[in-house]
């Protein structure tokens, strides 16, 4: 369902080159909850961004269903990203001037306005945030913000959710809620690839991959 082939990526700046992905292959199937582990700087975030169509790898291809993300124009890739991929970040990255509900409505979507509003309300209700819908992120706790961020990632019912250390800033209870949400999503056929330093999510994962020296390992 999601295939990454021979992914290589090299970060370049004025003084040096760092090759962080080195001919990496990855396949993810529907309903899979995959944990991605590795030391800081090993390239986990780079891989997630490359799989999400946000970072064109130096070499290789990323396929979601029948679509090769990087053979698409930037506009088509943006549309594919909206349709097929959800992102969850450690720092939540909610738009600070929008309310929780508006953050969900900020997702690019083909739905009409009433349908979008109904979808936002449904998602917020599912995570127990109906009464917080009109609060801005600054007025929400870290756990609530991350629940909003997960709802946003799930808004278009995407094929793949890429989660970059989503529980890193959360207390254990809030982390458990977020992991529950992602687990429910995979139970409905979605795919989660979660970068993490923590061992806790592994208990939910169908498999764990280690990123070392630019390639993936099972142990």
């Amino acid at each position: 369902m999601i295939r990454a082939r021979s992914i290589e990526h090299t970060w370049r700046d004025a003084s040096r080159e760092v090759r962080c992905l080195n001919g990496l292959d990855l396949e993810l199937e529907a309903g899979e909850f995959c944990c991605l582990r590795g030391v800081s700087g090993s390239g986990k975030t780079t891989l997630l961004l490359a799989l999400g169509g946000m970072l064109r790898p130096t070499e290789g291809s990323v396929q979601i269903g029948d679509e090769d993300l990087y053979s698409l124009s930037s506009g088509a890739r943006a549309r594919a990203r909206a349709r097929e991929i959800g992102f969850v970040f450690q720092m939540f990255h909610l738009v600070p001037y929008l309310t929780a509900r508006e953050n969900l409505l900020a997702v690019r979507s083909k739905l009409g306005k009433p349908a979008r509003e109904a979808r936002a309300d449904e998602l917020l209700e599912s995570v127990g945030l109906t009464d917080r819908a009109d609060h801005r992120p600054a007025a929400l706790s870290a756990g609530e913000r991350q629940r909003v961020a997960v709802c946003r990632a799930l808004f278009n019912n995407p094929t793949l959710v890429l989660a970059d250390e989503p529980t890193g800033n959360l207390d254990p209870d809030s982390a458990a809620v977020v992991l529950d949400l992602l687990t429910q999503y995979t139970a409905q056929g979605g795919v989660v690839l979660m970068a993490t330093h923590s061992e806790t999510p592994e208990s939910r994962a169908s498999r764990t991959l280690w990123l070392r020296e630019g390639t993936l390992h099972t142990t």
């Binding site: 986990k44 990203r81 970040f89 720092m91 001037y97 970059d164 993490t196």
Partner: protein, 381 residues
């Protein structure tokens, strides 16, 4: 979510930034409006003063002796009557309010009268304005104060054998005009037996905005192409002093305005750059949410343009108020002429949003070309 709502939400959230942006654009609207409003009043005042001082250009036959002209009050020689009509079709002239005249001495009730025949004023096609002088109907005469000799309006008199009805006796002017008997050109041509000719064309010199140009030289050059059989005299007058004063104030505004606008553009550009910098993560996440470059660009350009519209509305009102309130103190001569310049409103309403958008353009491009992966990676584990 609509772009406009997102812009509104962001603008109210970062209200200090919004206030500064509005302030810079408000100044960019208000000061030019205030300057232009008072400047236009000064221009109208100059025109009025120059008109009040009368025709200040004389076109005489080329061979006319000037000493004789000043001594007798009319020029020897003649110009074809149709010469004045040639100005009608000419463009971009320094002449306006052209008045063809035929003057000569006649006797009336024992005194020498300066018989002056005239027709309606002629104006170049792009400068049509109301006449500066009364019109005389054929068969009538307007008598100067010094030559009326008891004649009254409605009375029939005879001038060198031609019977004319007195249309008016003019009030005392204290000039040579007091000795004139104004008749229609055709009547003067009959009395003086000079058919189809004139011996003087009076005119008003238009204001010349270019201080580097010798006005008299320009008048002569223009006349050479239109009426080569004529020569031109220009009356130096108080209007020139007024013209110079206005030119001085215009130059002052012209010097100041570009700096004000450049400063405002700089502030708008800086504020947009700060805004883009503050919103790097937001731009990254909007990309991740599937939004393209158009959406990102419109968030900044439409915001700047929207503030430009608001600032144009308030800036126009404030600039007009400034001109009306403080203009009379700064320009006492033109105080009565300062009025709201509504023509500036549309310029402000169209120009300021464009000005704001152009000022915000460099930072907007930086936002569009920002690599979202860079921003989002900075936050990664």
């Amino acid at each position: 979510m609509s772009v406009l709502y997102q812009i509104y939400a962001e603008a109210t959230h970062r209200w200090v930034h919004s206030l500064l942006l509005f302030g810079a654009l408000f100044i960019a609207a208000a000061l030019p409006v205030a300057f232009h409003t008072t400047g236009s009043a000064a221009k109208r005042e100059t025109s009025r003063l120059m008109r009040d001082l009368g025709y200040n250009v004389r076109i005489l036959p080329k061979d006319a002796e000037l000493s004789s002209y000043w001594a007798q009050g009319f020029a020897d020689g003649a110009l074809p009557e149709e010469a004045v009509q040639r100005f009608k079709t000419a463009d971009d002239l320094s002449y306006n309010h052209l008045l063809a005249m035929l003057a000569g001495r006649v006797e009336f009730r024992g005194a020498s009268v300066l018989l002056t025949g005239l027709t309606a004023e002629v104006a170049p096609q792009t400068k049509k304005k109301g006449s500066m002088i009364f019109e005389v109907e054929p068969g009538t005469v307007h008598l100067g104060h010094a030559v009326a000799k008891g004649a009254t309006a409605g009375e029939e008199i005879e001038l060198s054998g031609l019977k004319l009805t007195v249309a008016a006796v003019l009030s005392e002017a204290g000039t040579i005009d007091d000795t004139r008997a104004w008749v229609h050109l055709s009547d003067a041509q009959k009395i003086l037996a000079m058919p189809a000719v004139v011996n003087e064309i009076q005119a008003l010199e238009c204001y010349c905005a270019d201080p580097g140009v010798d006005n008299l030289e320009r008048l002569r050059e223009e006349l050479e192409t239109i009426v080569p059989e004529g020569q031109v005299l220009r009356m130096d007058a108080a209007a020139e002093v007024r013209e110079k004063q206005r030119r001085l104030s215009e130059e002052y505004f012209e010097l100041l305005l570009p700096w004000i606008l450049a400063a405002c553009a700089g502030v708008v550009a800086l504020l947009t750059a700060i805004n883009v910098r503050e919103r790097r993560a937001e731009i990254g996440i909007l990309r991740a949410l599937g939004h393209g470059s158009g959406r990102i660009a419109s968030l900044f350009l439409l915001k700047a343009a929207g503030f430009g519209i608001d600032a144009a509305l308030f800036g126009f009102a404030a600039g007009s108020w400034l001109a009306l309130e403080f203009g009379p103190a700064v320009f006492p001569v033109t105080a009565g002429k300062i009025v709201v310049e509504w023509s500036l409103f549309s310029y402000a309403l169209i120009g300021l949003p464009l000005f704001a958008a152009f000022s915000a353009l460099p930072s907007t491009l930086a936002a569009v070309f920002q690599d979202p992966a860079e921003t989002l990676r900075e936050e990664g584990p």
